[in-house]
Structures are given as C-alpha cells and as structure tokens.
C-alpha cells in the first residue's frame, strides 16, 4: 500500500467517527446545558417565555446562510484531512483556513508537503497534533480566563450602563471593521459583497423591516444573499 493510500485509510477509519464524536458531543452537551440555564432564568426573571423561543428561532434561521458556506468548505476539507477530522474541526472552534494552515504546518515540520507521497502516517500524526494543540489555545484561554474578561469589561465600563452599551457596539464595529477590511482587500468581488451586503442590511432594517417587523428575522439572510448575487454577478460579467 502506498503512503497516500495508508493515510487515506487511516484518516477515514470508522472508529474515528466515534472518537471525533466525543468532542462534538461535548459541544452539544454545553449547548443543551446552556439552554436549560436559559429556561430556568426565564422563569426566575419573569421574562416572557416567547422571547427566548423567538431568539432561538432567529439564531436557527440566520445561521442557515453561513452554515451553507461551512457545508461546502467542509466537503473540500474532507478531501484533504479526511471526513471525521473535518467534521470534528468544523463542529468546534476552527475555520477551514485555520485548520488547513495547521495541517500544512504539521507537514512542514516533517519536511514534506500535505497529501504528497512522502506524507506518511507519522506526518499525519504531526498534522493532527498541530490542529489539536492550536485549537486548545482558544479553548484553554476561554476555559480559564473568561471570568477575568468579565471583570475587565466592568473595569473599562466603570459601571456606566449607557457607556457599556456604546462600548459593546464600538467593539463589535471594530472587530467587524477588521474582518471587512480583510475581505475588501481581497478584490473587487469581495468588496462588492461587503458593500452591497452592508447597504442592503441598512435599507432592510430602516425601511422594509419597519413596515414588516416579521421580516427582521430574515434580514441577515436576505442581505447576505443580495451581497452574494452582486459578487457572483460581477464574476460572471467581468471575469
């Protein structure tokens, strides 16, 4: 058996689904526990029970668009790192780009290219160690330091609730400004997607959703589709 076949076979072993499933299960467990905490708090704080349900639905619906993107990326990633690992890495922290970089870095450390004939089971192990170690960075930091982040936020806001609201908005704008800057610098297609996505959202929220509040739930999905149509249209016409 060639190295490539060996690596392919090992990374698609049936038992791996179970082993990867354990971590996916931890994520599911956390989600279920937090939903229970929400329903408990809804009762204690006498929040209208319709509100958390509505919020859950908004999350469920608005994630469909981005999840379709993840779906496709996942199929690509399955080809390069195997089904079970792709499922594990994209179900928990990790974007395809990060995981592919980590897998590549692992191969680099062995002095070979990912997926080449020289990429042995030992190199595969290095790639997998690299992905797990990298992911652990975020998980351990948030697992340990999140309460300190809360104190940090309280310190920065100084107890001024109005400023806390502005602060949260400004932080979000900053981080999305950064994410958008990265997209804009990729090229005209991406810039169009960013701009039309942003403009459609503003128009939707300010006009259409005011008249039809029910549409607000779908606003993000609609804006995303409009942004994508413009970008793909540009590609079709000019590329």
């Amino acid at each position: 058996m060639s190295n490539i076949e060996q690596v392919q076979q090992a990374s698609n072993s049936p038992i791996l689904w179970v082993l990867c499933g354990i971590t996916v299960f931890v994520s599911v467990l956390q989600t279920v526990l937090y939903m229970r905490q929400c329903s408990k708090m809804t009762k204690e704080a006498r929040i209208d029970p319709a509100i958390p349900k509505e919020a859950f639905r908004v999350g469920l619906i608005s994630a469909i668009g981005p999840a379709l993107g993840v779906f496709i990326v996942m199929v690509g990633l399955m080809a390069s790192i195997g089904g079970p690992m792709a499922w594990l890495r994209l179900s928990i922290i990790g974007a395809a780009a990060t995981e592919l970089s980590a897998a590549n870095i692992g191969a680099d450390a062995c002095g070979v290219a990912l997926g080449s004939e020289q990429y042995t089971l030992l190199c595969l192990a290095v790639s997998w160690f690299t992905m797990a170690l990298n992911g652990a960075g975020w998980l351990l930091f948030t697992g340990v330091a999140t309460p300190s982040l809360e104190s940090l936020r309280n310190k920065v806001s100084g107890g001024d609730m109005k400023w806390l609201v502005v602060l949260s908005g400004a932080c979000s704008l900053g981080i999305f400004g950064y994410l958008n800057a990265g997209e804009i610098l990729k090229g005209v297609g991406n810039t169009l997607a960013v701009l039309t996505g942003a403009v459609s959202m503003v128009i939707l929220v300010k006009t259409v959703c005011k008249k039809v509040p029910k549409l607000m739930e779908y606003s993000l999905g609609i804006a995303m589709i409009i942004g994508m149509i413009f970008a793909v249209g540009y590609d079709q016409l000019f590329m």
Partner: protein, 222 residues
C-alpha cells in the same frame, strides 16, 4: 431576586457550565491523534511536535488572547464559552446574537439580553451541526449537483456578504464610529506590515477610544 442578584446567579451558572466543558473539549480533541499513534505505532518525535507547535503558535498564538478579549463585549460571558467551543464566531455567532437582541428589543447589559443572545447562539449551533453533519452524509453528492458559480459564490463570498451585513447592522446605531472602524484596519493593512493580531488590537482599541471621545462630547445619539 432583583436584577443584580439574578445576573450574579447567571454568571455563576455560566462559569460552572462553560469552564469545564471548554477545557474538556481541548483535551478530548487529542483522542483521535492518540488513537492514530497507538494503532499504527507512528508516535512522532517530541521535537517534531514541538517544532510544529511553535510554528502554529507563531501564526495564531496571539489570537488565542486577542479574539476572546475583542469579542467579549459582543458575546458576553455565556456567548464566549459557546462561541469559542463551537467556532464560526464572526460569521455566525455574533451576527445571530446581535440580530436576536434587535428582534426582541433587548437592552445590552440586562438579564433578558443574556438569555436572548445565549438562545440565539444555541440556535445557530444547532444549524451549524446539522450543516457539518449533513456535509458528511450527503456533501459529495450535493456538491456535484450544484452549478459551479453557486459553489464559488458560497465559498468565496458568503463570509464577505455576512460580514458586510453585520457591519451594516451595527453601523445603523453608530454611523460615526463605523467610519473609523472600517478606515483604521484598511489603512493599517494597506500601508503597514503589522501582523494580523496587532491590526485587530489597534482597530478594536482605536475604535473604542474614538467612541469614548464621541460619547463624552455627547456626539452619539442614544
């Protein structure tokens, strides 16, 4: 119980659930590689693993700290645990949570806002799991059926469009701050060779500083 006590209780429960699960997931993620090395007797030399770890930490290490800090204001405590375990924070978790707060007209900092953003993130995690799991089962077949431009659109532009739309949604509330939030990283990325993590830090703190000045001068409509 009053709002303050409820919030205290909420945070205590959040930590009790989130901290052990995130740490546990960091550990269980090593199970596949341990199985691989044991079954195929292919334990790599420790030095190779350390080299790879060093290389990956050089590329992403700063993000382990910068991202949780920068996203904290948008995600809150529960959202931080959920978001950093399930990933897809920028393109899924924050947009969903922010939209849910708008739809339910919940005010930042209240217990209702905590419940609402947590539920929205939970909803988005369910969708994501369905997405990745169905990709495993039917992914190849579906991809073969989709026209190429659609696949290209989803892989190349889905993130751009959702980032843009989410930015637009935040910009409605603070258009003046939004201008700077976009300008700072574009300029930094175009004209300086700063590493990505440093650009995030400068953008988030720069934006925060400008917001503070506007806020103190009363230039922000509330």
């Amino acid at each position: 119980m009053n709002e303050k006590e409820l919030m205290k209780q909420w945070k205590k429960d959040s930590i009790r659930i989130g901290s052990p699960t995130n740490i546990l997931a960091a550990l269980t993620a090593f199970l596949p590689v341990i199985w691989l090395c044991t079954t195929y007797h292919c334990w790599p030399p420790v030095s190779t693993i350390l080299t790879a770890w060093g290389m990956v930490a050089a590329s992403f290490g700063a993000f382990y700290f910068v991202e949780p800090i920068s996203y904290y204001a948008a995600l809150g405590m529960t959202g931080t645990y959920l978001g950093f375990l399930s990933g897809n924070i920028g393109n899924m978790r924050v947009p969903c949570a922010a939209l849910a707060l708008d739809v339910t007209k919940s005010e930042t900092g209240t217990i209702q806002a905590e419940v609402v953003s947590t539920m929205a993130i939970c909803g988005s995690i369910v969708t994501n799991l369905i997405g990745t799991t169905s990709a495993v089962i039917i992914g190849g077949a579906v991809l073969a059926m989709l026209p190429e431009f659609l696949v290209a659109g989803l892989t190349k532009y889905a993130s751009s469009a959702i980032f843009g739309a989410t930015f637009g949604n935040f910009a409605i509330k603070y258009p003046k701050i939004a201008v700077f939030a976009l300008l700072i990283p574009v300029v930094l990325k175009m004209f300086t060779g700063l590493p990505a993590a440093a650009v995030i830090v400068c953008t988030v703190f720069g934006t925060l500083l400008i917001a503070r000045v506007f806020y103190q001068k009363g230039m922000l409509a509330s």
